[in-house]
């Protein structure tokens, strides 16, 4: 089975993240980049599927040059090779154009199964899996907490508010995973050393047949109009319980639309 895992480099959530004043995009240079956490679960699932069924795991990353660090981590976990889609023209892409560029790259790579985390910690749109499936004309099996492959049949358990749905399809398909699915392995030292020698293919937009006018900041359908720093946390209000503490707490929660 030919599995492609989409892995994104995101700014470390433990650090303070900033937007660039010039073009209002995320300042990806200012902070350490890490593997988007959910994507580690996607890599783990791909590796387990490969261990069970054979085949090959390819990592696909769209991101600036710096994202190679993230690719190396996925390779250190055990992926076989990687494709790095990187081009200045892609900077500023929104979800729609990102899915277009990624789909073009996936068509070029070829796949039986595409696996990705269900959202990234930087953008949190959670739409890439659905958009990719649509663009690739493949079934989408999203929010999987369990994946089973049997020949060309694939079945997942999709988490819902009330439990889970069982969703079945045939390969090729696109699957997004949630953190309940597995426990990602630590990259082993041997894996880390071996990752240095694994092939990473660099793709520019022309190599992936991506139309420059359909990607990047200028082509984005959504626009960051303005932004401001989050206000410092205001001092809390202290409410004295005069027998009506419960009512006051409920009123407060209702005023914030929590209940």
């Amino acid at each position: 089975m030919n599995i492609v895992v989409c892995v994104k480099q995101v700014p470390d959530t433990a650090t303070e993240r900033k937007l660039r004043p010039d073009d209002k995009t995320l300042d990806r240079d200012a902070v350490d980049g890490v593997v988007n956490e959910l994507d580690e679960y996607a890599v783990e699932e791909a590796l387990r599927l490969k261990e069970a069924h054979g085949g090959e795991v390819t990592v696909l990353t769209m991101g600036p040059a710096k994202a190679t660090e993230t690719i190396r981590k996925a390779l250190a976990m055990g992926a076989d090779k990687a494709v790095h889609l990187s081009d200045d023209a892609l900077h500023g892409s929104d979800a729609l154009s990102t899915s277009y560029a990624m789909a073009q790259a996936l068509k070029k790579i070829g796949f039986d199964l595409v696996i990705l985390g269900s959202e990234s910690t930087d953008a949190r749109t959670g739409v890439l899996a659905a958009m990719l499936a649509e663009r690739l004309g493949a079934p989408q099996l999203t929010l999987a907490r369990k994946v089973e492959v049997n020949g060309s049949a694939i079945a997942i358990e999709r988490i819902t508010d009330y439990g889970y749905d069982k969703v079945e399809a045939t390969l090729p398909a696109v699957v997004s995973v949630v953190e309940k699915i597995n426990e990602p392995r630590y990259p082993s030292f041997k894996g880390i050393m071996a990752a240095k020698k694994k092939p990473v293919e660099a793709l520019g937009i022309a190599d992936a047949s991506v139309d420059a006018s359909a990607v990047g900041l200028a082509a984005a359908y959504s626009e960051v109009a303005e932004f401001a720093a989050a206000p410092p946390r205001a001092a809390g209000t202290i409410v004295k319980d005069e027998g009506d503490g419960g009512v006051k707490a409920a009123d407060f929660l209702a005023s914030k639309k929590f209940i």
Binding site: R72, K73, A76, P187, S188, F189, I192, M193, A195, K196
Partner: protein
């Protein structure tokens, strides 16, 4: 907490990945439980060994036989991250890799290597290293443990070792003993009749680590049990050099954990209407701690580069072990004072590290032994005896 000199920027991407892998392992598998292990004086060696093996830390600086073959700086960084968890964890790894696997790897026969190294790298077999004896510590040359060859060629081992890390949980002991030709090393399976290894209790330091006595009562070993590649004290001393290199990095982790804990505490603990970190006396403590930690980090990085270049000298390892353990212990003690009463509980890592570092100060050459080593290099005069 800010890393003032950003020394880790000097690391290669692979070295950073090794750091991150060990750091997350320690955060997930060690930090949640280590205070309990310390309180209960247990170390779950059998449980952790295969996990550490899968990660690749056991014998990480050796190559072949299932070992990862890392450079010296990577080895150091891994030790640092392990010891940020607990010195007991790092001790387990140092003993396994540098004191038990290293002599087999360096001085062992091909059969000894094949038999032990792959299983030890995987954490399926645990090793210990017996040099120190009840009456011979800093001066191991006078050891009393003795091995004699009988007419069949078998070795008969008699004597006792003390303060042996991993002793009671080990599958194999590397035992140094006097022979007619001088000091030799023996690969002793711990299920050999006549071998026993009772655990030492009532320790107030390295409680999350197994420390034992070893007794050899007519332990009969085949002729092939001796390490063929070395005779004399240089055998065990070369192992100690490997392990000390791990220690001079490892203690940076303990020091970092203490400083981080002190900085966090100083920012949140209010007295006299403000955070104690806003008082100049506290800031002075924190600043000196950070300076000492970064200087120790520079020493470690420099020595790591020398080791990778193949030019590191034993007295330079003494320098690093002496200076960095001293720095970490001072940091731990200062951090303890910043935490006030909370500094004496296992709710915070500080007193655990502080007590552990008292062992680290003593084992692998006491502070005094390393001072005498440097004194000898400086003056050309031997003050050991």
């Amino acid at each position: 907490m800010d890393d003032l000199l950003r020394l880790d920027d000097q690391l290669t991407p692979e070295q950073r990945m090794i750091r991150d892998a060990v750091r997350s392992f320690v955060a997930d598998r060690v930090l949640p439980d280590v205070a309990d292990w310390f309180e209960e004086a247990v170390f779950p060696a059998r449980e952790l060994a295969p996990q550490l093996g899968a990660l690749g830390v056991l014998g990480m600086h050796l190559d072949g036989y299932g070992c990862a073959g890392l450079d010296a700086v990577s080895y150091g960084v891994a030790c640092r991250e392990l010891e940020a968890g607990d010195s007991g964890l790092r001790s387990f790894v140092s003993v396994q890799g540098s004191l038990a696997m290293f002599p087999i790897w360096k001085y062992g026969s091909e059969e000894q290597k094949q038999e032990w190294l792959p299983r030890m790298a995987a954490g399926e077999a645990i090793g210990c290293f017996g040099l120190t004896e009840p009456d011979q510590g800093s001066d191991p040359a006078g050891m009393r443990t003795i091995a004699k060859q009988d007419p069949s060629g078998d070795w008969i081992l008699n004597g006792a070792k003390m303060w042996i890390t991993n002793g009671s949980v080990a599958d194999v002991a590397i035992v140094w003993a006097q022979t007619d030709d001088g000091i030799r090393g023996f690969v002793v399976p711990t299920d050999t009749p006549g071998f026993s290894a009772p655990e030492i209790h009532k320790k107030m330091s390295l409680r999350a680590s197994v420390t034992s006595s070893l007794y050899f009562d007519d332990v009969r070993l085949p002729a092939s049990a001796v390490l063929p590649g070395v005779t004399g004290l240089k055998g065990p001393l070369s192992c100690l050099s490997e392990a000390r290199f791990g220690i001079l990095w490892g203690v940076l982790g303990a020091g970092h954990a203490c400083l981080e804990s002190a900085v966090d505490y100083a920012k949140t603990r209010l007295q006299f209407g403000k955070p104690i970190g806003a008082f100049q006396l506290t800031q002075e403590k924190l600043a000196w701690m950070a300076v000492a930690l970064e200087q120790a980090g520079l020493t470690a990085l420099h020595l790591g580069k020398l080791k990778d270049a193949g030019t590191l000298k034993p007295h330079q390892i003494s320098f690093g072990k002496l200076a960095n353990v001293r720095a970490a212990l001072d940091i731990a003690r200062q951090a303890r004072s910043v935490l006030g009463a909370n500094g004496i509980t296992l709710e915070y890592p500080v007193i655990r590290h502080m007590n552990n570092l008292e062992s680290v100060l003593t084992y692998e050459g006491t502070q005094e032994v390393h001072l005498l080593t440097l004194g000898k290099v400086l003056t050309g005069l031997d003050a050991f005896r």
